[in-house]
């Protein structure tokens, strides 16, 4: 069984937000929900200050905190490491949102239009997105990134990896020592976010220059 994982190369990312937009387009997420996002970070102070964009997605932890705290059984982990929320089982207690160290889980109360000034009904594209969101996710329950499992099953990469123009995102199998992601993690000293929580994320980052 593969263990799906990401490698995000910080020295290649220049913060164009393509991943964030591609995720929205692929998953029809409503306003206020971004499963993939890009956040600016700084360290040091002048004249030795550094800026860095940090792309974030669900880290698909091997030991997920969200799974541990979920009281309903709505959260499950597949054998390939992907953590899912069953929208029909979640009661929306938001415990997982508090427990996730990576801010990967989000919830909205309803669909807010992207074009509040427009008159009349939603335009057909937004109406389509709303219908797709309600079909696969919904309002009130926890939602999260699943590494675009529908696309992966079709043999494609997740939307954010496919869209990245800087080639900063690699998707692959962490179990396979010869996969591109495994080789990159070994060769370029890949690290995980907040290792102190013992979650063992499936998302690795390659250090900036």
């Amino acid at each position: 069984m593969p263990r799906y994982g990401f490698v995000i190369d910080l020295k290649r990312c220049y913060g164009c937000y393509s991943c964030q937009v591609a995720c929205k387009a692929a998953n029809h997420t409503p306003r206020g929900i971004d499963w993939a996002r890009c956040v600016p970070a700084e360290t040091g102070s002048f004249p030795a200050a550094l800026r860095q964009m940090v792309p974030l997605i669900c880290q698909q932890c091997a030991e997920p905190e969200c799974l541990k705290v979920c009281p309903t059984g709505a959260t499950t982990q597949d054998e390939n490491g992907i953590v899912h929320v069953d929208k029909d089982l979640c009661m929306g207690c938001k415990y997982c949102i508090q427990a996730c160290p990576y801010g990967a889980r989000q919830t909205v109360d309803g669909w807010q239009t992207y074009f509040p000034d427009a008159e009349g009904d939603l335009d057909p594209y937004e109406a389509y997105a709303k219908a797709r969101w309600e079909e696969k996710n919904g309002y009130g329950m926890a939602t999260k990134c699943d590494y675009c499992m529908d696309r992966v099953k079709e043999g494609r990469d997740p939307a954010c990896a496919e869209a990245c123009p800087a080639k900063a995102r690699y998707f692959g199998d962490l179990e396979d020592p010869e996969s591109e992601v495994s080789i990159l993690i070994r060769r370029e000293r890949g690290f995980q976010l907040n290792p102190e929580f013992g979650t063992d994320p499936s998302c690795y980052y390659l250090p900036p220059r």
Binding site: Q52, D88, M91, Y205
Partner: protein, 306 residues
């Protein structure tokens, strides 16, 4: 340097009210059971305390359900007790409510004969007390299981909530007893005295709790938010002065200067202030919860949505 650590915004007043009422109900019930064991002039207190347990916790649970995003699935809350503290808590609270309801029934019409069965009532009281303590302590453990929020994830929080729960529980019993005809003034007096000790204890626990925040930047930011930041007015006026100092002074004055019937003159305002302080304490602890920043090598970033 960590920029702009923001407090969590998902759990607000509804959850604070739930944590508060679960604590108060548990505390009142334990007070009632202890009074029941003492008997004699405490008989009135016993009924009031035991009767308060079930409805307070029930109303608390209604607040909790009102906060759910998809309330139709509320009945699934106890499906994963092996790992989730919400599931474990749901079981503890449900058992407590069932025991509390049975206990009240001992004094009600169709079961009135059971009131004579002292042994059975005491056994039920001991069992209920176990679950009452479970309820009071669990409200702190529940928050503590959210590990990225260091302000909650500390062993001091269950202790703080336990002491506050016992204190507000006693005050709720005193409040109701002050208006009830059948209660003995001497019992109110004694409860006010016990409450004085609990308030002083709670002050110490609160100081230790805040002192224990110094280890990591996110919990230091939490303490900052409470002591000097946006929640400082509610913390200092609502929790420290209204919730602790005022009831302590009133209780001390009432206990030392007047005995007997006039103790209620001080007991009522002291209880009202102390109970409000208990609610404010839950709210500032919730509102002060700040997630650990993301650590990507040398870079630290605040979570973008919390």
């Amino acid at each position: 340097m960590i920029p702009n650590l923001k407090a969590q915004s998902k759990w607000r007043w509804l959850i604070a009210a739930y944590l508060f009422l679960a604590g108060l109900g548990g505390g009142a019930y334990v007070t009632g059971v202890v009074a029941d064991f003492l008997g004699g002039e405490w008989a009135g207190m016993a009924r009031i305390g035991i009767a308060l347990g079930f409805p307070c916790v029930l109303v608390g649970c209604i607040f909790l359900m009102a906060d759910l995003g998809t309330p139709k699935n509320f009945w699934r809350a106890a499906m994963r007790p092996n790992t989730s503290w919400i599931a474990r808590g749901t079981i503890i609270i449900t058992v407590f409510m069932i025991l509390g309801l049975i206990h009240v029934a001992f004094w009600l019409w169709p079961f009135k004969g059971l009131a004579e069965a002292t042994g059975a009532r005491h056994f039920l009281g001991v069992l209920g007390t176990l679950f009452a303590f479970g309820t009071m302590i669990y409200t702190g453990v529940l928050l503590g299981a959210a590990r990225p929020i260091a302000f909650w994830s500390t062993a001091m929080l269950p202790l703080l909530f336990l002491v506050s729960a016992l204190s507000t529980g006693i005050m709720a019993v005193v409040l109701v007893a002050s208006f009830a005809a059948e209660t003995h003034a001497g019992a109110i007096h004694s409860l006010a005295r016990i409450d004085t000790v609990l308030i002083i204890l709670e002050m110490f626990v609160l100081v230790f709790y805040l002192q224990a925040t110094h280890r990591v930047p996110e919990s230091r930011a939490s303490a900052e938010l409470l002591l000097r930041g946006a929640w400082a007015p509610l913390f200092w006026w609502g929790v420290a002065i209204l919730g602790l100092i005022v009831p302590l002074l009133l209780d001390l004055f009432g206990v030392s200067s007047v005995a007997g019937a006039r103790a209620a003159v001080f007991a009522v305002p002291a209880s009202l202030c102390g109970i409000a302080g208990g609610l404010f304490l839950r709210q500032v602890v919730l509102a002060g919860g700040i997630h650990a920043p993301l650590r990507a090598g040398r870079f630290e970033v605040a979570l973008p949505i919390v």
